[in-house]
Amino acid sequence: MKNILVIGANSTIAHAISRQCAVEKANLFLVGRDPERLLANASDLKMRGATRVETVVADLADHKTHQKYFEKAIAEFGFLDEVYVVHGFLGDQVKAKTQLPLALEIAEVNYLSVLAMSTALVPLAESNKIGSVAIFSSVAGDRGRYSNYVYGSAMAGKSALISGLRAHLSHRGVHVMTVKPGFVDTRMTADFKKGPLWASPEKVAEDVISSLQKQRNICYTPGFWKLIMMIIIHIPERIFKKLKL
């Protein structure tokens, strides 16, 4: 019975991951902000087969909260086989370009909160309390683009953070994987028009869980994004800056 910590458990993708873990009878520890959603999600996971489900309500933008829920998770389960860090906030790029509070919020929730989380994670990883970790970044972090650079830059910082953590913790036998989804049909993207490149949360969850088990370093999901981004990052800057990608 695996012990699994899901941070940002109310997110569509996180719940898809939790559901697939529940079917495998995992013990789940969920951290989320909306208490009503958390309870409903926990009930669902118990129905689907989870052996145990514990929950903690937390605002992940509160930097002091990470220490607290990690402590509770370790107290409940002792050892965390897998940790999924899934929370994120898209924000409105058009507004964020000029509105200071929104721009900062995008950076706080997407990057700074994960940095804060890492300061609580590292000591636990170093003292053999953690098996492996999957942290969600995004293809948007592979290059700062015209259409969403505020979010993209937070993701770029996060990708570098995760990469560094991977190197550091690999010396301790703890695997850290970067997850880079492309377009996924979730609550966060409800307003977008969907097309053939869009993936379901269930497909992403499947990819992430199996990639973590195979100890991959970077998981582009779906896989074709690796090729797309390879092309995008190699477009010479003098051309790229003229595009409105």
Partner: protein, 426 residues
């Protein structure tokens, strides 16, 4: 976001959100399997209930399952079947949401013994646009309970539903298929089949001779097997990838289909064991089958006539459909039983119901349907809002006697294109 309903007669555009807004034209939508405009909300604000799709609890002693309204019957079956349970009532597709099933008070092949889905609900939780929350059941807020069942989503946001399930020994169905050559044969077989929990007929709505409909078809009846394993279905394997050109469905191809379909069995009676997918959801096996009707879409027309009007009233309507040559090959015939509905606005009544598609050929189709509509009304029958895209306001007023009572419970900030087209104009 832009979307259309299953009949694809039109596309609407609306904003989207996660909760009812005050002073807005809200509508909560499910999986958009209704055919007409009961789930459309042009220039309004829609809430996609599918986001809220959690299973919540299962009381296996009393066989009561509770879930959020956005979960589909497909997902419910994946939970229930392996545990030896089944849905109490199911429509012809499993891709409806729980909320949608309540809002349309859906019925199925077992109406004559089990009534509608609403008959099996223990309670539901409703949220209204003023922020109020209501637990509704036969004893708590009963009027709101009866207004919400079959209430087309107009009373509020159905959040959670608790309903009774049935026990089954296996996921198989012991089925029988009987050929019939005329409507009177259908009614005779139907009389003899009342003890079967599930009965329905496919009827040929195209073949005719000497100015009268042939009325031949296949009668399907069955019940849950005592033997066999409890196995869940797989995903649909076939798909209609793009809109078919409208000439793909024409009298010739439909005649060919009808001939092949009717003659799939040579014997007058054939027994078989089917999976529940095969018996209940044959069309679900083809993704996007509605695209087969082409880009102009199609009307689905379903009516019920009371037994008091009888076969005498049914036959001229059936003749009119068949002789028009416009009916499609997917035509379902069934009799409804006498279990009273729980919803003020529920469609079924004890009598004969026929449901079929009409490819949208513009004015010709509309005129035919209006003629059929008046024949149905004259015989004391009515049409089904979940399927309707054309009925007149006067028809609705005349045939749904609890309308004014129902409107007392309508949420002032919820509306739908059906409401605007039919009810608001009364």
């Amino acid at each position: 976001m832009k979307y259309s309903s299953w009949g694809q007669l039109s596309k609407v555009d609306s904003t989207q959100g996660l909760s009812l807004q005050e002073n807005a034209k809200n509508l909560v939508i499910g999986n958009l399997r209704s055919y007409g405009d009961v789930c459309l909300n042009q220039s309004g604000h829609v809430i996609d209930s599918k986001v809220f799709d959690n299973l919540l609890s299962f009381d296996d002693k009393n066989k009561i399952l509770t879930a959020e309204s956005g979960i589909t019957f497909d997902e419910l079956l994946k939970f229930l079947v392996p545990r030896g349970y089944f849905l109490p009532v199911t429509p012809g597709t499993r891709f409806v949401t729980l909320g949608g099933a309540v809002a349309n008070d859906v019925h199925g092949k077992n109406h004559h013994v089990a009534g509608n889905f609403g008959n099996h609900i223990e309670w539901l939780d409703l949220e209204r646009s003023d922020g109020s929350k209501w637990r509704c059941s036969r004893s708590e807020n009963p009027e709101l309970f009866h207004a919400t069942i079959g209430g087309m989503g107009l009373t509020g946001f159905i959040r959670r539903v608790a309903f009774k399930v049935i026990s089954v020994q296996s996921s198989q169905i012991d089925a029988e298929t009987i050929k019939f050559k005329s409507l009177s044969e259908f009614f005779a077989i139907n009389e003899e089949s009342k003890h079967f929990p599930y009965t329905v007929a496919w009827v040929d709505c195209i073949s005719n001779a000497n100015g009268k409909a042939k009325g031949c078809g296949l009668y399907f009846r069955g019940g849950h097997s005592e033997h066999g394993e409890l196995k869940v279905h797989g995903a649909p394997k076939l798909s209609v990838p793009v809109q078919m050109p409208s000439f793909a469905l024409n009298p010739l191809t439909m005649r060919l289909f009808n001939f092949a379909y009717y003659n799939q069995t040579q014997a007058p009676l054939k027994k078989s064991t089917q999976t529940y997918q095969q018996f209940f959801y044959p069309l679900d096996g083809i993704n996007h089958w509605n695209r087969g009707y082409g880009s102009k879409g199609f009307y689905q027309f379903q009516f019920v006539l009371p037994f008091s009007a009888g076969v005498k009233a049914f036959e001229p309507i059936f003749d009119a459909i068949t002789l028009s040559g416009q009916g499609s090959f997917l035509a379902v015939l069934k009799t409804f039983g006498s279990i009273p509905t729980e919803g003020m606005m529920s469609f079924p009544m004890e009598g004969i119901t026929l449901a079929l598609d009409f490819q949208n050929k513009g004015q010709d189709t509309l005129r035919l349907l209006q003629r059929l509509e008046s024949m149905v009304v004259e015989a004391g029958g009515r049409l089904y809002p979940a399927k309707d895209a054309m009925m007149a306001p006067e028809t609705f007023l005349k045939t749904y006697p609890y309308l004014s009572e129902f409107l007392r419970y309508k949420d002032p900030n919820i509306t739908s294109d059906f409401f605007q087209r039919v009810i608001a104009r009364i």
